[in-house]
């Protein structure tokens, strides 16, 4: 029974937003342009709707289990052994997502900011900073999310307004020009950008007013969807879709081509790159906290500091594993959707099923 909670509605909202928006925004418009041409923004809206559905499923699962922690819910419904296995798979999913994100982040950083700095160094420093944050409790993590939200999004919106100045929005036409198969493909490709939604499992039990959940969570998903739609539209508007499909990181190219009239800052992408450090950092620390928390419960360790010692070497190894960018995106586009589907659709649905069955059994028992 978990009635205690300390996360306010703004904390909840900002945590979800910053935990989901990570390095996906770099490559998302490009991947979508390859499958569905100009309709990337439509796919983002579809993704948002799917997330709303997931929100509802998660809400049902948690509320029927008295808002207990994720691990306890798994154990209670799947039994100790299978519960531990499911939790383990879930944490593997989280670890892979933050590690591949880490690699994308260092590749982008090396490309645009620091050419000669070794990837190992970037990875290590980022991991150390993340560890420093999660040493504290969940309270500190949420506080950081609250502050980081403003630091991230106010400058980005200013930059996006400048991007809109020169953009040709008619590039968005023609709409709906691809076959339905392509749309499905695009949705699965974009799962990397929405993968962080599992963080709700972590945050919901600690929410102060459970009735705030609906409003905050829906607002968060709406915000993320709008953000992705805007980025998609602006990318296509500033360079048209064959170009976008060709670039690895079209978002950055879009920022590069912004010229502020009478402009003072020319190479805007250098400064925006610096901002993206925080985007990735929040994505990273939230995922790290959740996975360390699960590992702590699975192995019965007493403190999250110790369990994160276990997790961190794996992150380092996996981040350095792909040999090159081709392999990296191979993992993101190939392996990741499978993991996403398993952990965030398959498992929750089964959980819901089990809970409903349990209720039926309990009802028939009483009768």
């Amino acid at each position: 029974m978990n009635n205690s909670g300390f996360i306010g509605k703004y904390g909840f909202f900002s945590s979800i937003v910053v935990a989901i928006i990570g390095v996906g925004i770099f490559s998302l418009p490009g991947e979508l342009a390859k499958s569905v041409g100009n309709d990337g923004w439509l796919v983002s809206i579809l993704d948002g709707l799917i997330c709303l559905l997931l929100l509802y499923i998660i809400y049902k699962i948690m509320s029927k289990n008295n808002y207990d922690t994720f691990y306890n819910i798994l154990i209670r419904n799947f039994g100790k052994v299978i519960g531990k296995i499911v939790a383990f798979i879930f944490s593997i999913y989280l670890i892979i997502s933050i590690s591949t994100g880490m690699r994308v982040f260092s590749e982008v950083l090396k490309m645009y900011l620091l050419e000669k700095t070794p990837t190992e160094f970037i990875t290590l420093t980022m991991i150390l900073c993340g560890y420093y944050l999660i040493r504290g409790s969940l309270t500190n993590l949420v506080r950081f999310n609250e502050v980081a939200f403003w630091i991230m999004f106010i400058p980005i919106f200013i930059v996006l307004i400048f991007a809109a100045y020169d953009a040709d929005f008619s590039n968005v036409f023609p709409i709906l020009n691809s076959s339905p198969v392509n749309y499905f493909q695009a949705i699965s490709l974009s799962s990397f950008s929405f993968g962080g939604i599992g963080i709700i499992f972590l945050m919901l039990p600690a929410l102060k007013n459970k009735s705030d959940y609906k409003k905050s969570a829906i607002m968060a998903v709406t915000f993320i969807t709008i953000f992705y739609v805007v980025i998609n539209v602006l990318c296509i508007a500033s360079s048209s879709s064959p170009q976008v499909g060709k670039l690895l990181w079209p978002t950055i190219a879009m920022v590069k081509s912004i010229s502020i009239p009478g402009g003072f800052i020319e190479g805007l992408e250098g400064s925006v790159m610096a901002l993206w450090v925080i985007f990735y950092f929040t994505f990273f620390t939230n995922g790290l906290y959740f996975s360390s928390d699960l590992i702590k419960d699975i192995f019965g360790l007493e403190d999250i500091k110790i369990s994160s010692y276990l997790v961190i070497p794996f992150i380092y190894l996996i981040a350095l594993l792909p040999r090159d960018i081709g392999e990296l995106y191979g993992i993101i586009e190939g392996v990741f959707p499978i993991l996403f589907f398993t952990c965030l659709i398959f498992f929750p649905l089964i959980l819901l099923l089990i809970i409903k069955l349990k209720k039926k059994v309990a009802a028939t028992d009483e009768a």
Partner: protein
């Protein structure tokens, strides 16, 4: 507490491992202009196909490019000395741009740094080799740290001469050209093209237009002389400045420019202040008709001292004269682009793609043929709103 100490230790030891990317600003040589000419061995391009990928010793590669880097002489800049300096330059023969950078760095006391380059000059000779042009442009597209807003021009002859040229108004050619490009808001005869725009156009179908520069050796002057038309990555022709300004009008992108007619023996200057363009495409079996409506607004600058423009009828007469003249001129230029060069510079293709997607699917395979056989009508409506301060 023990964890914290460990953390700090690791962090500090990491920090002491060294700074990899540090390069002091005065160690850099800021390339402001790049000029690409054909190299000495460009005729041996065919031999390149014989080299297999696994072959060692790439010195057998052919120097197909001659690249000139122009950079300002930093010692001429400073507090008292002003903000603009004469250029120095390095020319190397290389097989690719990356190679030219390496070779130039070996010759230079400072690090070659192209991220701030403002100007890219392509020799008309190198534009005859589409394979090389594709290679050059791919380099620029792949490079993350390159100025995507740099201006690109085609030059007649060797770019080396241009880079070494000392213009009258500025200390180096890059300042001069950038200035002219930025002034293009005021004239319609100059059509600036940035790297970003060029790449977008070329990625679509290999066609583009870039401004053209000519050097008059006798009078020692450099002039922007219309545009060069690129089709499938090769140079196919030129447009004169007047034709360029017409093309600009048809594209609907003129913010300021002038047009002239002759009225009773006097030239009447009409300065354009705004353009609105509507393009309408009517499908007709396998071809289409393009109707372009242009609305121009502007001011009449000069006629003849005795004439009075204050009356409505007189003004209307001038307007109609302009309408006629410009409609004919613009239709002519659009048709010329279409039939002589087969290049679509007025975004007809984009319009069909966006607003008639079904039709586009039908004709996209035979686009070139269909484009050549279609009909383009341009209708210009001129409104001279102001006539100065006299009647």
């Amino acid at each position: 507490m023990k964890h914290k100490k460990l953390l700090i230790l690791i962090f500090m030891s990491l920090l002491l491992t060294g700074c990899w990317d540090k390069l002091e600003i005065d160690q850099r040589s800021f390339i402001s202009t790049i000029g690409i000419d054909p190299g000495k061995e460009i005729d041996k391009l065919k031999d390149l196909k014989k080299i297999k990928p696994g072959d060692p010793f790439e010195e057998r590669a052919i120097d197909e490019l001659s690249v000139t880097f122009g950079f300002p002489d930093i010692s001429q800049l400073g507090q008292q000395k002003g903000n603009s300096a004469e250029d120095k330059y390095i020319t190397t023969q290389a097989y690719s741009i990356e190679d030219s950078i390496t070779k130039s760095t070996a010759m230079s006391s400072k690090s070659i740094f192209i991220a701030d380059c403002q100007l890219l000059l392509l020799s008309s000779d190198i534009l005859q080799y589409p394979q090389v042009v594709k290679q050059i442009l791919d380099y620029f597209q792949r490079q993350p740290r390159v100025n995507k807003n740099m201006y690109i021009l085609a030059v007649d002859g060797n770019t080396e001469d241009y880079i070494k040229f000392k213009p009258y108004m500025e200390k180096n050619i890059q300042d001069y050209i950038s200035g002219v490009m930025e002034n293009s808001e005021r004239t319609a005869t100059v059509l600036p093209v940035t790297l970003n725009e060029l790449l977008i156009l070329l990625n679509e179908n290999g066609n583009a237009i870039i401004p053209r520069l000519t050097l008059d050796k006798d009078r020692n002057e450099i002039k922007l002389n219309g545009i060069a038309i690129i089709k499938k990555f090769a140079l196919v022709g030129y447009l004169t400045p007047i034709e360029t300004s017409d093309l600009e009008i048809v594209r609907g992108k003129v913010k300021s420019g002038k047009k002239v007619i002759y009225l009773e023996g006097n030239p009447v200057d009409f300065v354009i202040e705004g353009t609105k363009r509507k393009m309408n495409i009517v499908e007709k079996d396998q071809n289409f008709i393009v109707n372009i409506d242009l609305k121009l607004e502007g001011e009449i600058r000069a006629i003849s001292l005795e004439k009075n423009l204050g009356q409505i009828s007189k003004l209307k007469e001038v307007d109609d004269a302009f309408n006629n003249a410009l409609s004919i001129e613009c239709t002519k230029i659009a048709t010329m682009m279409q039939k002589n060069f087969g290049v679509d510079a007025i975004e007809i293709r984009e319009n069909i793609e966006k607003y008639h997607p079904a039709f586009w699917k039908k004709i996209s395979k035979d686009w070139e043929e269909v484009y050549k056989n279609s009909v383009i009508n341009v209708n210009v409506d001129v409104k001279a709103r102001r006539i100065g301060v006299t009647q």
